[in-house]
């Protein structure tokens, strides 16, 4: 029984006088305790909206949320607002992309941590401060007792993100959602933050939902990966399976567009053609077809269904009329990487 099972999640934005926009459309994935699931896709594919919907942070007006998200036996999407506010921060917590703007500039970070402790653990005064210092130490901030009095702008980018993580894990949540936690950071700091997140998951048994556009981040941390395109899941698989044998041309395109150290000199990067705005409506066919190298008329007759790869490849699904077969395709084999080809 997974800790979080999202089934058929959909989010529709309705504005008066405009056609409703379905930002997330039938997304399903699940996440076991102590594991890391990646939600991958370009900007605008619905990954952030999905996570905000899970925490009930979308505005109530003009937004329709459908489907179920079963967390420990209760449906998060149907939780009364009061109960939702109680479990936010204690059972579920979220880390955002930009650590500077996610911290209040006029409040010392110590107080921003103790605030969460006071809310969920009724911890106040020196006990809360002591716990906050422990948390800062836990996330690798040196001289934590002194840092409690610091304001966000006095910390470096990496330290700020560590402080945000400390706030998020203050009440030992069972599910942590990290929305692009490393995007605003230097590459070296990115690796440190990912290590920290991975270590927290392993030692505390927290489940982590990692939202990113960076397959490098996925490769380092995730157990399972769900790739979104235009609001729908187009491929989902365990990490090794996805990297070794991607089936959807979009996944292959994403893997090909990552710069590689072992590529031959002068070999150009191969970006995915066009942009996400080229997507057609799923009701007309495969939304990725306009950007796809393999599309035929068959792709444009209704939306392809999510199909299992089958066989012993349990848990690998794709949504493609012409899935790529792993062995003969050079790009897929290259993506499998790990020295097997060169």
């Amino acid at each position: 029984m997974p800790l979080l099972a999202v089934d058929n999640l959909s989010v529709t934005f309705t504005a008066q006088g405009k056609r409703p926009v379905r930002a997330v459309d039938g997304v399903s994935f699940s996440l076991a305790e102590g594991s890391v699931a990646g939600l991958v896709g370009e900007s605008g594919c619905g990954k952030s909206v999905s996570s905000l919907a899970l925490l009930g942070l979308l505005p109530r007006r003009g937004v329709r949320v459908g489907g179920t998200a079963t967390f420990d036996g209760t449906d998060l999407l149907r939780l009364p607002p009061k109960r939702m506010r109680e479990i936010r921060g204690s059972e579920l917590a979220m880390i955002f992309q930009d650590p500077l703007s996610s911290l209040n500039p006029v409040v010392p970070i110590g107080r921003q941590i103790t605030e969460t402790l006071a809310r969920h653990r009724r911890m106040r005064g020196s006990a809360a401060r002591k716990r906050a210092a422990e948390l800062l130490e836990r996330v690798g901030i040196p001289d934590p007792a002194a840092r409690l009095r610091d304001y966000p702008h006095q910390l470096s980018g990496g330290m700020r993100q560590r402080a945000l993580i400390a706030m998020a894990v203050a009440c030992a949540p069972r599910l942590l959602i990290a929305d692009e936690p490393t995007t605003a950071l230097d590459v070296t700091i990115q690796a440190q933050i990912l290590d920290l997140l991975g270590e927290l998951v392993r030692s505390e048994g927290t489940a982590l939902l990692l939202i990113t556009h960076d397959l490098g981040v996925v490769a380092g941390l995730c157990d399972t990966v769900t790739v979104l395109y235009a609001g729908r899941v187009i491929e989902s698989a365990p990490r090794h399976e996805l990297f070794a044998a991607p089936r959807h041309p979009y996944t292959v395109g994403l893997l090909d567009s990552v710069p590689r150290l072992d590529a031959e000199q002068g070999q150009p990067l191969r970006p995915v053609r066009g942009s996400v705005t080229d997507a057609i409506d799923w009701s007309d066919g495969c939304a990725f077809a306009p950007r796809c190298d393999h599309y035929t008329m068959a792709c444009l007759t209704g939306a392809p269904e999510l199909t299992s790869v089958g066989g012993d490849r349990d848990g690998h699904h794709h949504r493609c009329v012409h899935p790529i077969h792993p062995t003969p395709e050079p790009s897929a084999a290259r993506a499998a990487g790990e020295g097997s080809v060169r």
Partner: protein, 329 residues
Amino acid sequence: MVTEINGKPGGTVGKADKVDRLAELSARHDSDAEGGSLLREAFGRLRRSPMAITGAAIIGTFVIVALLAPFVVPYDPAAQLWGREVQPNHNVFVGPRAENWFGLDHLGRDQFSRMLVGAQNSLLVGVIATLLGFSAGALLGGLAGAAVGLGGAWGRRLDTVIMRFVDMMLAIPSLLIAVSIAAILGPSLTTVMVAVGVAQIPIFARLLRGSMLAQSHADYVLAATALGVRRRRIVLGHVLPNSLGPVIVQATLTLATAIIEAAALSYLGFGNPDPATPDWGAMLADAQRFLVGAPSLAVYPAVAIIITALGFTLLGEAMRESLDPKLRK
């Protein structure tokens, strides 16, 4: 700091000297970083701003003069000690001289003493009117902002009621409000304070509410919400403190406006009716009658009003700059 070193390329400066200076600079930088609160940092920037220093010097002089006036005035400002020497009807006035630095006014009173005591009244009116406008305006605006932030149909309704009321106040020209209040209460110093203060209420209310609404869309509000922090706590502990900067700046700028408006009201005759109590605005009104014979009588209070208002404006603008997070390094 680094440019300072790059600015003087090697040559005469020895390598050891350079290293020493680097170490010194980095040590200084560290102590900068340690320097506690945001306000202290803003204050540090303020101290380096020539605009702020000028403004603070003017205000400081003004405040000291106002406070010490009753003890240092050379003569009683109300006594017509040289009444016989001045004959306004025959254009006979007395200009500056050894015993009367600014000369005599039209009734033969010492102009310098009247200016000093007038400063006291101007400061009193400015500060109390601003405090009134600030507290009532911030209360209304804060209530409206908090009502929106705490959400719910009732919150939005309360906000609408408050803000439409404020809009009504804003729709009437502030001097007209002031004159109406002065007409109701009758001429007195209190009238001027209330009138000027009330006219400032809508400005503070709109400013604080707008600032709070803008802050409530900030990322840190979403982040705090995602960690389950109560909405009440978010509004009072996060949104409100972040919204106060522009309001504090506005208060400083309002002090200047209040002093000018108070002068305008007492010029119009709504100030203290007692001719014995000097007041820059009333002095200006009196001097107007003798502009041809003794223009300097109008110049003293006018220049004093301008310089004081300038002082508060300079400090206010400098504060706006130093509190602006975008300019923060």
